[in-house]
């Protein structure tokens, strides 16, 4: 059974230059365990590559049940010169939450 990141966590996107960072914070420990195992930098890159994005780095903050993804080249050349309607990529947190990962009963 797959589960959406949306069902396990909340997210916020920030911008610096042409880099977007998106935090993913799990609602509970079980959800964090799934995300830590399944929501790898590679999985995230696969869902952002069509934006021209990459590479992706992942930082873990287990005490906050949070992951922080730093996604380079995700903002159309950078906030100040991007042609995108959302140059800051504020809405990219919602794209992160659409990713489906294998759920609680798999992979362990």
């Amino acid at each position: 059974m797959s589960v959406r990141v949306y069902d396990l966590a909340h997210a916020r996107a920030g911008d610096k230059g042409n880099t977007s960072n998106i935090s993913v914070t799990a609602y509970d420990q079980a959800g964090f365990d799934v995300l830590r195992r399944e929501l790898t930098a590679e999985v995230v890159l696969a869902h952002f590559r069509h934006l021209g994005a990459g590479p992706v780095r992942r930082y873990e903050l287990p005490q906050l049940r949070a992951l922080n993804f730093v996604i380079e080249n995700a903002l159309g050349g950078g906030v100040t010169r991007s042609l995108a309607i959302d140059p800051h990529g504020k809405s990219l947190s919602a794209l992160m939450l659409t990713i489906a990962v294998p759920g609680h009963n798999e992979g362990a």
């Binding site: 230059g17 935090s23 069509h50 906050l64 309607i85």
Partner: protein, 450 residues
């Protein structure tokens, strides 16, 4: 007598941030200090251009409107105020406020101005500096440079308050430093007191985007609720001399402040949590925890500090051509096919006019404009808006984009409605370099009542 605890509120988190919650926190927050952060990365470039046109301008355009609302109630309560609304002209900002202050009922106050962040001459003297973004030499940007400002630290804010000032106006100062400055002033923390600098910097980082700590950028109906989002209150921090920090928000205001909102804001615009570099310290937030100590009140734990770096970051604003854009709406049967025909018509008309673009972006709003997915892979909505945006060094070519889109009203597919020509905007882009700290010598200048 030195206080053991100070309370710092946030009165604004970006230039055009909402003013009423700023007034509310002044009136009800029982504050000692109020900080207002109003400078995005590139706004100072625009304000540098304003100053070139009119030497009395160059401060944040909303300065007087915001100060008229904030300054009188702040001074009345003895709240000291710091803001970076000086932008490209901090002294001009101070003088503009003074001109109006008497009429606002503020005849007497002391204002200190921080100058010295402007470093465009230094940039011209050092074309060999490498751009942080791509390693290319700064030289390539110099002919197109519009502004160059170094991010100053909290020490200049503290020096401003040390003059006895009620109001400190700065240009470019690191956002968290606007909040750390009052702590340095009130408690005399030194620059080798790394963990206290880290705690204060963490507090500033959490507060500097105003409502983003208190339930803004958070609500998701049915999933994550925020009580009275319309009445969202701004955040404040209680800081003790020993470095303890608790964050809260205006009593009685709407919104929420809890571990979840703090976690989201901690990681906002943060890359490596173990090395968040500011002019004042390198914050290691990798072990930070949040403790809900009361409703809408959270204690911060676990921030560690490392020494500040020997360099300061300079943001260089430069001209990067023009962007033209326009939109047109379609609805009902076959709406998406008509929008796609409109796109082809505009592209062909621009091509036949001999206009070329560095980059063109085409969106179908309602299908793929935000996440840039394949529009053939999403269901067709009842209505859709086409959007075309393009970048070019040629202003006339940029202007043609929105004009051709809007012409679809009369010379495009059937039923094209709600067209908008956004015209051509000059693009002010930014890149960064690092410079040795010693190259910059900020000064505190008292603004004198005329």
């Amino acid at each position: 007598m030195a206080k053991d605890r100070i309370r710092i509120g946030c009165g604004a988190g970006f230039a055009d941030d909402r003013i009423p919650p700023g007034v509310e926190i002044v009136e009800k927050g029982d504050l000692d200090y109020l900080a207002m952060e109003c400078l995005a990365e590139r706004t100072i470039a625009r304000e540098t251009l304003d100053k070139k046109k009119d030497p009395t301008k160059g401060y944040t355009p909303v300065l007087l409107e915001r100060m008229e609302a904030i300054l009188p109630p702040a001074l009345k309560r003895g709240i000291k105020v710091v803001t970076n609304m000086g932008a490209a002209n901090p002294m001009g900002a101070a003088q503009a406020v003074r001109q109006h202050a008497k009429a606002w009922g503020c005849p007497d106050y002391r204002c200190a101005v921080v100058v010295g962040d402007e470093v465009s001459d230094l940039m011209r003297q050092h074309p060999e500096l490498a751009l942080m973004e791509d390693g290319a030499p700064l030289e390539s940007l110099l002919p197109k440079m519009a502004s160059a400002n170094a991010y100053l630290g909290a020490d200049v804010v503290a020096r401003g308050f040390a003059t006895g000032a009620d109001l400190v106006i700065t240009g470019r100062v690191a956002d968290p430093a606007l909040f750390l400055g009052p702590m340095l002033h009130a408690f005399g923390w030194s620059y080798d007191d790394y963990d206290r600098l880290a705690r204060g910097t963490l507090a500033g980082h959490l507060l500097e985007c105003s409502g983003q700590l208190t339930g803004g950028c958070f609500a998701d109906p049915g999933k994550k609720e925020v009580e009275d989002l319309a009445g969202l209150g701004y955040p404040l921090a209680d800081v003790w001399a020993d470095g303890r920090v608790e964050v809260s928000k205006t009593p009685g205001s709407g919104g929420r402040l809890d571990v979840a909102t703090c976690t989201e804001q901690l990681l906002y615009e943060m890359h490596d949590p173990s090395a968040y570099i500011t002019p004042d310290c390198v914050l290691d937030a990798s072990g930070v925890t949040f403790e809900q100590v009361a409703r809408d009140r959270v204690a911060l734990h676990g921030a560690k500090g490392k020494p500040r770096t020997p360099t300061l970051k300079v943001v260089v604003g430069y001209f990067d051509g023009y962007m033209g854009s326009g939109e047109m709406g379609f609805a009902g049967v076959n709406a998406v096919a008509r929008a796609k025909l409109g796109i082809e018509v505009v592209k062909e008309r621009l091509r036949r006019r001999g206009l070329t673009y560095e980059e063109m972006r085409i969106d179908l709003i309602g299908m793929n404009s935000l996440h840039a997915n394949d529009w053939n892979a999403v269901p067709e909505p009842y209505e859709v808006r086409l959007r075309i945006a393009a970048r070019t060094p040629d202003k006339k070519a940029a202007e043609a984009v929105g004009a051709e889109v809007r012409s679809l009203h009369m010379q495009g597919p059937t039923g094209a409605g709600g067209g908008i020509n956004f015209g051509a905007k000059q693009i002010l882009a930014v890149k960064s370099v690092l410079i040795p700290r010693a190259w910059v010598t900020p000064e505190i200048v008292m603004e004198q009542a005329a």
